[in-house]
């Protein structure tokens, strides 16, 4: 079982249209999602869609995490403390996990090379697993947050330096 979320849908012109739009989107989502679904929970308040997969025998739980578009590594602000590299920041408030499951190897270690689209950690919020994905290549220069530590919005999780640069 794992969860994911859907980006906000556009507001329809009317309440009835909203429901219809939502319905269509949920149906489309259910079709598009890989694997056997067990449950789809739709909430309209903050427009979350929770997906619960049927626990397949072959699939490890953490492998079912679907990346979300919300994760955008921001360039490091020109602050005095961090002059080099790119900061990968938390897009939300939650708990940071360095590994896909307790006891497993971390997604990345200091010195690892990463490619665009690679998952470098997870931030869990409201029981949703949000993969932290980098959008540029580089080498992990530092991991600033420990496993299972709380993070706030915009907190720097790890720092990348350009690949091939001086160590």
């Amino acid at each position: 079982m794992a969860t994911s979320e859907l980006s906000a849908r556009s507001a329809g012109p009317d309440a009835v249209d909203d429901v219809r739009d939502l319905h269509d989107e949920v149906v489309a989502l259910a079709r598009d999602l890989p694997g056997g679904l067990r449950r789809l929970t739709v909430r309209d308040g903050d427009r979350a869609v929770e997906v619960e997969w049927a626990t397949g025998p072959a699939e490890a739980p953490a492998a079912a995490v679907v990346p979300v578009a919300a994760v955008v590594p921001a360039p490091v602000a020109a602050g005095p403390a961090e002059t080099e590299g790119t900061a990968v920041r938390s897009p939300l408030v939650g708990t940071f996990y360095t590994a896909p499951s307790p006891g497993a190897d971390p997604f990345v270690r200091v010195g690892d090379e990463v490619e665009p689209g690679q998952t470098v950690g997870i931030v869990e919020a409201m029981k949703l697993m949000n993969p932290i994905v980098v959008d540029e290549a580089g080498v992990v220069a530092d991991v600033l947050v420990g496993d299972a530590e709380s993070v706030e919005y915009d907190q720097v999780l790890l720092v990348l330096r350009p690949a091939g640069g001086p160590r």
Binding site: A11, A48, V93, A125, Y153
Partner: protein, 502 residues
């Protein structure tokens, strides 16, 4: 009991709640957006969590981040303040589901009161007087016109989900009805995402009187007296005062009784406000209920000596009300002026910026609630409330003089920053306001005259002229006893529409 409380808000109300927590021995968790990272409440808090970028939708309205912040920081309660998520039943429900005590009414009650049409129906069932009109949503213009013909013009078309003074249109003639109906529905749909509207009689020349109530979770409720908020600009309150001097003691008691009865009949808990329109005879009509602490709550605090935010938190923690109705004895008169970072001469356009000078008034019975300090920047991302200046005095005349003195002490300066200070001083010099005979349309009708007076005051404005005669609670409405020194050269204000004042 609550040990650690997260404040899901910003600005002056966040500071206000933090102060109540400090006095109760409750630890404070502040949440803040990127632009509020150095704000006053962050400095006061035991822990602060950065919840998002400046845009409210992604920070102070972003439920997952706020709830996560509460859970991460070990909070056991959430205070929503006013605005933002304070009247969002989903948020209250999610807090409850996560084991967080929400300082406010039960989500179901909040939902009912949030819909004006539902609230009207429930209060009608509880026996509260309503203006002639319909309780059910009106679906078509024909249906609405039939209702308007029946109750008589002028009527007002209101959005059921409306608030903050938006989504209301007054219709004076039948031929204007269709257009008003369509426009209001469009605004309601665009702003509140709910096109539902209803129609009721429009009362011209009325006063806005609201009753503060406090209810616990054990079926007890008390009224803490009323506030008069008739000085509004396009349905947005600017100056609030208490008590409503135009009501008789019997009318006040009855209004308080009705308010408590209405609140308890729907299972309301916590601090809430029942809003009424009062006509020239003192007859009151229920308008809506605000299921939260209100901006103007300090008026009641100064009149009663009751710390409303403290009581609100204790009641949310499950404690029985320790106050009985007979313990609540409003004394004297209190006035609150909303000091907004707005330019009244440019249609009250927001005028935010860096507060290079913020000199806050002080002195006897003078309170200033703010979330800003000198050097802070008023962000364009949030509402323009800079602070609330509140004074108390033994009677209304002294309270007006004290307020004018305090307003004169206040200095707010910064590039591009404008405030409503001079406007308030001009208002407190208006003969109708001084005589307490203004109505809810007064400011919309007389704004040019008030602005002209404010402009003439702007330089080195003197204090109010010396008092003539003894002090009275409600000055005689026959003639303005003051010399006309301060109102020289003013644009005459159009007379108020006829209204039976007996």
């Amino acid at each position: 009991m609550i040990d650690r409380l997260l404040i899901a808000n910003r600005g002056e109300i966040a500071v206000r709640v933090a102060r109540a927590c400090r006095e109760l021995g409750i630890e404070v968790v502040a949440v803040h957006s990127t632009s509020d990272r150095d704000s006053a409440v962050v400095a006061m808090a035991d822990e602060a969590v950065h919840i998002g970028p400046p845009a409210p939708r992604r920070s102070y309205l972003h439920v997952p981040n706020i709830v996560e912040a509460a859970l991460r920081a070990g909070a056991d309660a959430v205070h929503p303040g006013y605005g933002f998520l304070s009247e969002d039943p989903d948020f209250a429900e999610i807090c409850a589901a996560e084991g967080l005590t929400f300082v406010g009414p039960p989500p179901a009650v909040m939902q009912q009161m949030g819909n004006k049409a539902t609230a009207r129906r429930l209060m009608a069932e509880a026996g509260l007087p309503l203006l002639p009109g319909v309780v059910e949503p009106v679906r078509t213009a024909e249906e609405g016109r039939a209702i308007a013909d029946e109750i008589g013009y002028p009527v007002i078309v209101k959005a059921a989900a409306g608030g903050g003074g938006r989504g209301m249109t007054v219709v004076r003639e039948p031929e204007d009805f269709d257009e008003a109906f369509t426009t209001t529905r469009a605004v309601a749909r665009a702003v509140f995402r709910d096109p539902t509207v209803y129609v009721e009689r429009f009362l011209s020349g009325a006063r806005h009187v609201e009753v503060q109530v406090l209810c616990d979770a054990h079926g007890n409720g008390i009224s803490l007296g009323e506030r008069d908020c008739s000085l509004q600009r396009r349905h947005q309150k600017l100056l609030e005062e208490g008590p409503a001097g135009h009501l008789t003691p019997e009318q006040r008691t009855e209004l308080g009784r009705l308010a408590v009865h209405g609140a308890l009949s729907v299972g309301y808990t916590g601090a809430g406000t029942m809003e009424f329109l009062v006509d020239g005879t003192g007859a009151a009509y229920f308008m809506e209920m605000n299921a939260r602490i209100q901006v103007e709550h300090p008026v009641t605090e100064l009149l009663t000596g009751v710390d409303l935010v403290r009581e609100q938190i204790l009641v949310a923690a499950g404690r029985r009300l320790q106050l009985r109705q007979e313990d609540v004895v409003p004394r004297g008169a209190a006035i609150e002026c909303r000091i907004n970072a707005e330019d009244p001469t440019r249609g009250f356009a927001p005028a935010p910026g860096r507060l290079e000078v913020l000199h806050v008034p002080d002195g006897p019975w003078t309170r200033f609630d703010t979330g800003y300090r000198q050097g802070d920047t008023v962000s364009p991302d949030y509402d323009s409330l800079l602070g609330k200046l509140v004074v108390w005095a033994p009677d209304r005349d002294q309270a007006i003089r004290r307020m004018d003195r305090a307003l004169a002490e206040m200095r707010v300066e910064g590039p591009g920053v404008h405030t409503t200070i001079a406007l308030h001083r001009a208002l407190l010099r208006d003969p109708d306001v001084v005589a307490d005979r203004h109505d809810v349309q007064f400011l919309d009708r007389c704004l040019p005259a008030v602005l002209a007076r404010a402009a003439s005051l702007d330089a080195a404005a003197p204090g109010l002229p010396a008092s003539r005669g003894g002090l009275q609670l409600v000055p005689t409405p026959t003639a303005d006893p003051r010399p006309d020194r301060s109102t020289e050269g003013e644009i005459p204000c159009p007379p108020r529409p006829s209204l039976s004042t007996t």
